[in-house]
């Protein structure tokens, strides 16, 4: 972590000081190079003056195509782009997309139209901010933060991808890059090297995306809702490829879902990676001692009695270290299927103390309540793996042993089937192969989701948290968009807000 921060600050200041008269020091935002694109000349003029007042270096452009040409000609000549949403020659979102792909610059969108769906569209296309007109000087004073944020985020990504590459021992296609830049590798040049990697790779991937999204209908495609099933397919594809080598194109091929575009997959993959990264961050803080082996068992006993959220809480508080879980599972489930036939006496204590949803005596299973708890625990266990497993920064690598994976697998069917009378046999079925490993993985990445699935009414909330279906969820509010929009104008007449169409004359009654 210390290396990470030194990377960040080092290269952050380096890249910024390459501009005239800008160090991160006292002068920093002065001279920030801003390109403003707006077909509305009035706004353009005002923005220019405002930005100038902020001591930024302003270039204005009233056509999106011309702006794109300027950007292409002067690569690296700008720090941030401000673009209007509606422009006659090119949609602002298209420009945003192209700029994101080709220059990787932070783009701030602006429009008088602040309806939620439009703002969401901007965000989805990668806008780092969305300003609603009228734009005030105070808002523009702050835009340098997006430049910094972008740089820092990139550096963090480099740092992470770099460590991943080291772990993999430079295997695979990256060897080319390594040899290409190998001569310049030294302490100082390392960051630059990683930058090159990142840039190349992302451009290559995203260029592919562009080819497909070129058709004009691309922006009007229906949102893809990543259902659990779809996500499961996605994760199995990623697993098949390996998380490091999974590129949207291959994933799409493997998933083979009609209507799904590479763009969708790419964005989902990005979220997925972020999610894994987040997990690894959490996992790093959770390295509870191995000696707490008995603790979790005690806790889990309670869990069976008291409630549903205990395991979750435990996982969150890091009281169940993955090693412990692994050990437990190795003991409980790592045995051959035949152990169902073992005398119950042998197993009962363990099972009761852990309640991990494995071969319970059929008497208990036949009671619906017990079954419910049982199946939920199974899910939750997998969810916990998701929460805890990220410790090594790479989930797949984390699953400590084959047995653990098997366990995750075996539990999965019992949740899905939930048959009162069969579960003991069902839960031991899934020992075999790739698909099941993947389903385990699915559970891991969407652990929260899975838990929610058991709680019918909350199902939607689970997905909101994932950020995947936010737009469609928010779409419900689109009808209220006028009101939403107008809310920003403090002094706007109440009547107009509510019944714009009928009573609009009332604005003038004053």
């Amino acid at each position: 972590m210390t290396t990470a921060s030194s990377f960040v600050s080092g290269s952050g200041s380096g890249s910024l000081s390459s501009k005239p008269a800008t160090g991160v020091s006292d002068q920093f935002p002065v001279g920030l190079r801003v390109l403003v694109v707006d077909d509305d000349v009035t706004c353009l003029k005002i923005l220019e003056q405002m930005l100038r007042r902020c001591s930024y270096h302003v270039t204005t452009c009233s056509q999106a195509t011309a702006a794109l040409n300027i950007l292409r000609e002067r690569k690296g000549g700008f720090d941030v782009v401000l673009s209007d949403v509606h422009m006659p020659d090119m949609d602002g979102f298209k420009l945003l997309e192209l700029v994101g792909l080709e220059m990787d610059l932070p783009v701030i969108m602006m429009s008088a139209d602040g309806r939620t769906n439009l703002v969401l569209r901007g965000i989805r296309h990668g806008a780092c901010d969305y300003l609603i007109k009228p734009i005030r000087e105070e808002q523009l004073k702050n835009i340098w933060q997006h430049v910094i944020r972008k740089k820092w985020n990139e550096n963090k990504e480099h740092e992470n991808s770099g460590s991943m590459e080291h772990k993999r021992g430079g295997g695979g296609g990256d060897d080319n890059h390594d040899s290409e830049y190998g001569s310049s590798v030294n302490e100082g040049g390392e960051n630059g090297l990683l930058t090159c990697h990142k840039k190349r790779r992302s451009i290559k991937e995203e260029d592919d995306c562009e080819l497909e999204s070129d058709d004009p209908s691309a922006s009007k495609k229906p949102r893809v809702v990543w259902s659990v099933e779809l996500h499961q397919q996605f994760v199995s594809a990623v697993n098949q490829l390996g998380i490091d080598k999974a590129v949207p194109k291959r994933i799409l091929e493997l998933m083979n879902v009609p209507g799904l575009t590479r763009e969708n997959v790419a964005s989902h993959l990005q979220k997925f990676r972020l999610y894994l990264k987040r997990l690894s961050g959490v996992g790093g803080q959770q390295g509870g001692g191995q000696n707490s082996f008995c603790g979790p068992i005690e806790q889990n006993k309670k869990l069976g009695l008291y409630g549903r959220f205990e395991i979750q809480a435990l996982a969150a508080s890091g009281q169940i270290p993955p090693e412990t879980l692994a050990a437990l599972h190795a003991e409980l489930f790592g045995r051959p299927t035949g152990n169902v036939n073992l005398p119950l006496v042998d197993h009962q204590p363990i099972l009761q103390s852990s309640n991990y949803g494995q071969p319970l005596p059929s008497k208990q299973i036949s009671q619906p309540v017990v079954e419910d708890v049982h199946s939920w625990h199974s899910n939750n266990m997998i969810g916990n793996y998701g929460g805890l497993g990220g410790q090594n920064g790479n989930l797949i690598g984390v699953m400590p042993s084959q047995q653990v994976q098997k366990q995750a697998i075996t539990v999965q069917p019992s949740r899905l089937v939930v048959p009162n009378n069969q579960s003991s046999s069902v839960s031991f079925q899934g020992g075999n192969s790739g698909v099941l490993v993947n389903s385990g993985e699915k559970q891991i990445s969407f652990g929260e989701c899975v838990q929610v699935l058991d709680q019918g009414p909350l199902r939607n909330l689970g997905f909101v948290g994932k950020g995947n279906s936010i737009p469609s969820r928010f779409a419900v509010y689109e009808d209220e968009s006028l009101a939403n929009n107008l809310n920003q104008w403090d002094n706007f007449g109440k009547k107009v807000k509510q019944e714009p169409n009928i009573e609009f004359m009332s604005v003038f009654s004053e």
């Binding site: 509305d40 706004c43 003056q49 007042r53 006659p88 008088a112 139209d113 009228p134 104008w489 169409n501």
Partner: protein
Amino acid sequence: MLGFGAVRLRTDMNRLLSVLFHQGVLDEQFLQLQHLQDQSSPNFVSDVVTIYFHESEKQLRNLRNLLLDKETWDHVKLGIHLNQLMGSSSSIGAKRVRNICAVFRAAVEQNNRPACMRALEVLEHEYCYLKNKLHELFQMEQQRVLGDAVRYAGVVHQQ
């Protein structure tokens, strides 16, 4: 005498501005605009407002043409023009024009042609009112600047 005239002009300007604010014709964005005027661009406000009127006249013409075309109903184009007019109006602080644009846009979204026509008329009326008042304001401003210049010249002459 000239000094007295300058003071009176300033008072008149302030009164007119406060009336426009009170009527909701302008909002604080106009003050932002005035705040942006400095030595490097001494006519910034009037320059911007001139551009605004020039551009918005085009938008209004487009809107009228689109609405008068009985055969087609191009709500997308209407929306784009309205959006732009809304953006520029709000950027100069023309609050009432901006609000009518919002109402207009709602009518367009509901495909309510009569409401659109009414909105357009009100919009044009508001637009003219704003234009006249701002013209008045800038004339006073100009007189004041001229007066200042004359006074300044007089001072120089006396020395």
